[in-house]
């Protein structure tokens, strides 16, 4: 049985618990055990722009929690993925920096050793579990047209993350197609959601999100699939506000990938907390 330390970050418990719930459901169905990290806190992403040592110590702290369990770390958020992988690489490569960080962690009785890997849930599904194993759990093939949104820090910077191909990624598309759904191409598929500039300039962020929603609508996709809770906030929770701002109508339901997989496994909409998605999802569209 596969087993991972399970890390939620900030956005998921605050406003995207349906991502958490659906991930637990599908992982249980795939015989994967998840070990919760108590008081796990933030990965330190924002401190990349404020203070490097704080960022490294915050990331190292989260990684050390998985290390003390002797497990690799499953992350659900692209932001956490980028922040933790970059910090881990730096600390593994640079012993001087590692000693400095461990001196800080000693105060809270923790130590970074570099023994656990950081893996995004999409990577775990694609590489550790694999399409063939997932296929065996699909009981209710879905008949929908889906637009995949990979987001940024699942793939980039590729020199650090080393997963899939950032220019022509296929992992999420294949994971979508194993559910029976059709993953459609659309213009600017690899573009960023704009979430990271939301604080600095809401207009720019909303325009970036709105542009992609329009591209998804233009190819007639039934729904959009995300792999990151913050991308999901932008496309789903903020979709109504963006429609108002841009004077456009999108009406695109946006699901977390494990919600789509869960439906294909035979879980019902309530099991996956689909009612918490802001843009209404009509479960009838999944019937074949």
């Amino acid at each position: 049985m596969k087993k991972y330390a399970y890390y939620l970050g900030c956005t998921i418990p605050f406003r995207e618990s349906n991502y958490d719930l659906s991930t637990r459901k599908v992982m249980d169905n795939l015989d994967v055990e998840l070990v919760d990290l108590e008081g796990a806190g933030c990965c330190g992403l924002y401190y990349e722009q404020i203070n490097e040592l704080t960022h490294l110590a915050m990331s190292a702290r989260v990684i050390s929690m998985a290390e003390s369990l002797g497990l690799d770390l499953m992350v659900l958020c692209n932001g956490c993925n980028g922040s933790l992988v970059k910090a881990r690489n730096k600390l593994v490569e640079n012993s001087e920096l590692r000693d400095k960080v461990n001196e800080i962690l000693a105060d809270i009785d923790r130590e970074f050793r570099g023994t656990s890997e950081i893996k995004h849930v999409i990577r775990i599904l694609y590489e550790d579990i694999g399409i063939d194993e997932i296929k065996k759990t699909v009981k209710n093939p879905l008949n929908v047209k889906v637009a995949a949104h990979y987001g940024c820090h699942l793939l980039k910077p590729s020199e650090q993350i080393k997963f899939d191909d950032p220019r022509e990624p296929k992992s999420l598309d294949e994971l979508i197609e194993v559910t029976g759904a059709k993953s459609v191409d659309y213009f600017d598929k690899n573009l960023c959601c704009g979430g990271f500039v939301l604080g600095a300039d809401k207009d720019i962020a909303y325009n970036m999100t709105g542009q992609k929603l329009q591209n998804v609508k233009d190819v007639g996709a039934d729904l959009m699939i995300t792999a990151c809770p913050f991308c999901h906030v932008m496309y789903d929770a903020n979709q109504r506000a963006i429609e108002n701002e841009l004077q456009k109508k999108f009406g695109i339901p946006v699901l977390h990938y494990p919600q789509l997989l869960g439906l294909a496994m035979g879980f019902n909409a309530r099991d996956l907390a689909l009612e918490q998605n802001r843009v209404r999802v009509n479960p009838g569209i999944f019937d074949s």
């Binding site: 939620l8 900030c10 956005t11 418990p13 605050f14 406003r15 618990s17 958490d20 719930l21 637990r24 919760d36 108590e38 008081g39 796990a40 806190g41 933030c42 924002y46 990349e48 722009q49 404020i50 203070n51 490097e52 040592l53 704080t54 110590a57 915050m58 702290r61 800080i104 962690l105 105060d107 809270i108 923790r110 940024c152 820090h153 980039k156 910077p157 590729s158 020199e159 950032p166 220019r167 690899n190 573009l191 960023c192 704009g194 979430g195 990271f196 500039v197 604080g199 600095a200 300039d201 720019i204 962020a205 325009n207 970036m208 542009q211 907390a273």
Partner: protein, 143 residues
């Protein structure tokens, strides 16, 4: 030291010298196509010892670094410019609440009773706050 010297003195800033201002970063930048934001100009101005503008508009998507033919770490350089700028001028207003939340809860948001009640209804474990992040921030920002 001026900005350029500070960047070159930082291990994270070494790739600044690779840039020959071709503009591939800006050609692929999703923010540049809908605004006046221009990462090529940011790097170019730093090299000319001028003050770069719009440093907070980078979406951190790393498309620039993927495209760069000279392996200039454009997005990482912009993060470094942000860190140097904060050290000099302090934090921009929109970051302050995130840092406050980190100190009080250990998360960038105020996770509390409301969220945990919802999680309880969903049979999900409660999310516990932590003071370890506050300790890390205090210890690392004193230096």
């Amino acid at each position: 030291m001026n900005l350029k010297e500070k960047i070159l003195a930082d291990p994270e800033g070494k790739s600044l010298v690779n840039c020959f201002s071709c503009g591939m970063c800006t050609g692929g930048c999703p923010v540049a196509r809908i605004s006046d934001y221009n990462p090529r100009r940011i790097i170019h101005k730093v090299m000319l010892n001028m003050e770069p503008e719009d440093i907070w508009l980078c979406a951190n998507c790393y498309t620039c670094e993927e495209r760069c033919p000279t392996k200039t770490n454009v997005a990482d350089l912009i993060n470094l410019i942000r860190r140097i700028t904060i050290k000099k001028d302090g934090m921009p207003e929109f970051i302050k609440p995130l840092v406050e939340n980190l100190k009080t809860t250990g998360y960038t948001v105020q996770i509390g009773e409301l969220e945990n009640k919802r999680r309880e209804r969903m049979n999900l474990p409660a999310v516990e706050t932590t003071d370890e992040i506050k300790k890390i921030i205090q210890k690392t920002t004193l230096k």
